[in-house]
């Protein structure tokens, strides 16, 4: 079976999910990610799965809760305003400790914004987003090959830790086409002993997030926090690009990281020793790798398609070390490699001048 195919990012999300053993999808159309639901509508039933178009994003995420509670792998997807509606259910998934994968193909905001690629949902994705004391692991693919690879990782992490996991893409990633090589479909996923399947002859199970006793609620919160610490320790992912001899480091994720790579290639030709640190998990954020870089590198440039959100995590990670410059383009504007090159060149000139 030839697995390398030329397809769009949104279709790749669907195919990767099915190959990861996803057997149910509940969603509500919103641009620029409609092709995910459309792909699932066509392919899930013929793979023995369930597709249902819900009446709203709120209903969709609650259908996800129901399916997840029975132990099947389940996914939903949406774009920025739709994800806001799903936050209620994501908080409940975290409280219930249920695994599910939520894809956010970001667009310009706040409000309805527009349908162009943006990265303005970073805060919402990485800070929990819904109410209560919880975290959501967030994967940020930078290519369609990574869409295929990380979608599977997302399902595995969701199951391993019984937690909702978000994949944070944007309109560019969803709409572009690239060759993608898919892994072989997963078969024979293990049974989940905690799942609701009717009590049968055994004891009954109850799934709750309501914990009225404050001491018990505190215990539950610390239990969740311990889980998030294990995820931080074991699941943090990042990519270093041309860092070995770098004297200036760009920090960017997803689409902006691709553009930053092109910019780095350009400025390297002009003698600017630039490199890239690309967080692949946005939560947990690759804090330690960034701190290690700060032992020998003074200058950091953060690129985002927002007015500056991840830059706060960079500042928090560096804890006062190094000099951080931010360059962002919000509103659905996709920056060019030339634009990023100019910033890297300018900051390197400043570094050279200050060293003289």
């Amino acid at each position: 079976m030839v697995s390398k195919v030329f397809m769009s990012g949104n279709h790749a999300f669907g195919e990767a999910a099915i190959r990861a053993g996803c057997r149910s999808y509940f969603g509500y159309p919103i641009t620029p990610q409609n092709e995910i639901g459309e792909y699932m509508a066509e392919h899930l039933p013929r793979n023995g799965g369930v597709f249902l178009q819900s009446e709203s994003e709120t209903a969709a995420i609650n259908m996800v809760i129901g399916a997840a509670a029975t132990g099947v792998r389940v996914m939903t997807s949406s774009s920025s305003p739709g994800i806001s509606l799903k936050q209620e259910g994501i908080s409940f998934l975290a409280g219930f400790q249920l695994p599910a994968v939520i894809v956010n193909v970001m667009r310009g905001g706040p409000g309805l914004g527009n349908i162009a690629p943006a990265q303005g949902d970073y805060f919402q994705a990485t800070r929990g987003g819904g109410h209560g004391d919880y975290r959501t692991p967030v994967f940020a693919p930078g290519s369609l090959q990574e869409v295929a690879d990380l979608t599977r990782v997302a399902f595995d992490v969701a199951d391993r830790y019984r937690t909702p996991v978000m994949i944070l893409g944007d309109g560019m990633l969803g709409q572009m086409k690239e060759p993608v090589e898919f892994p072989e479909p997963l078969v024979g996923l293990p049974e989940k002993e905690w799942a609701l399947k009717g009590r049968g002859e055994g004891p009954s199970r109850y799934m709750a997030s309501l914990i009225l006793d404050v001491m018990e609620m505190e215990r539950h919160n610390w239990e969740l926090e311990r889980k998030y610490q294990v995820i931080t320790k074991n699941e943090t992912l990042y990519e270093g690009y041309m860092l070995d001899d770098a004297k200036i480091v760009a920090v960017a994720y997803g689409t902006t990281a691709r553009i930053a790579k092109a910019a780095i290639k350009r400025v390297r030709k002009e003698g600017v020793p630039a490199g890239l640190l690309r967080p692949i998990t946005l939560w947990p954020f690759p804090k330690v790798p960034l701190q290690d870089l700060a032992l020998r590198i003074e200058d950091f440039v953060v690129f985002e398609m927002s007015t500056g959100q991840m830059v706060e995590d960079v500042l928090l990670s560096l804890e006062g070390r190094g000099r951080v410059v931010f360059h962002g383009r919000p509103g659905g504007v996709v920056p060019t490699p030339v634009e990023f090159s100019r910033i890297l060149y300018r900051e390197y000139q400043r570094q050279v001048k200050s060293e003289k």
Partner: protein, 250 residues
């Protein structure tokens, strides 16, 4: 001696009730537990309970259960039933949950004809939050947020959501009953049995609305509460079969 009143196996023993005296939840819980046993459904049953007083229903039922966010019960039930059609899935919801914050989920799950059963407890008031107006609050009825009585000019009219969804082709059985005495309890049990059977037979969506007392928030004695159901509430929400499409005629 013949045992007239056996304890249902799916109803937990040795539990102190948290429901107020005169509240209908305990009666309806018991009816459901009896039916799960009589119809041999308890082993494959999953109940979705609501936000509200009945969120603690898991204290009483000895079957698999999951709680839901405010109003989302039928969406969760949809997710369960769609991926595991072999399970017997029902929601247990109050009037605030089902006919206010969960209106969209209620209407669309009914309109899709989901193969689930809804047990809808209508006491015309918000119980757990302390007696505020519900969509089902009667005109003139005093609540903490309608201190002068519900006035249609400001608060709108009582919402007849069960009558509304009974019109949908996918809603196979809808009936309204009342916990207002022994006959009403018998009638309620018969109605819920029929509604459960609709799901067992794979016919589609079924809903039973049960008029039920909330003496605490109505600020009445149990006796007066029953009288109020019989004399006032049944005039607005008339008990009876609202639709029965079991014959196949939609």
């Amino acid at each position: 001696m013949k045992l007239l009143n056996k304890w249902p196996i799916y109803y937990k023993r040795d539990v102190v009730t948290h429901y107020c005296s005169g509240c209908g939840h305990g009666v309806v819980h018991r009816i459901i537990a009896e039916l799960l046993e009589e119809m041999d459904l308890g082993k494959r049953a999953v109940c979705v309970n609501p936000a509200g007083c009945a969120v603690l229903a898991y204290k009483y039922f000895d079957i698999d259960m999951i709680e839901s966010a405010h109003g989302r019960g039928t969406a969760i039930a949809t997710g369960i039933k769609r991926v595991k059609p072999e399970l017997f899935v029902f929601t247990y919801q109050g009037d605030g949950d089902l006919s206010a914050i969960g209106t969209a989920e209620t209407i669309h799950s009914a309109n899709r004809g989901e193969q689930i059963t809804v047990v809808f407890i209508n006491n015309a008031v918000y119980g757990m939050t302390g007696g505020q107006m519900a969509p089902t609050t009667l005109l003139g009825q005093k609540t903490t947020t309608t201190p002068g009585g519900r006035d249609p000019k400001f608060d709108g009219y009582p919402l007849h959501i069960t009558d509304m969804i009974a019109q949908f082709p996918g809603v196979i059985y809808a009936e309204r009953t009342a916990i207002n005495g022994p006959a009403g309890i018998q009638r309620t049990k018969k109605a819920i049995r029929t509604a459960f059977q609709v799901q067992v037979d794979g016919l589609g969506y079924s809903i039973i609305e049960v008029l039920s007392a909330c003496p605490t928030n109505w600020k009445m004695s149990t006796e007066d509460s029953f009288k109020w159901i019989n004399e006032v509430m049944v005039k607005e929400f008339v008990p009876g079969v609202l639709t029965d499409k079991r014959g196949g005629a939609a």
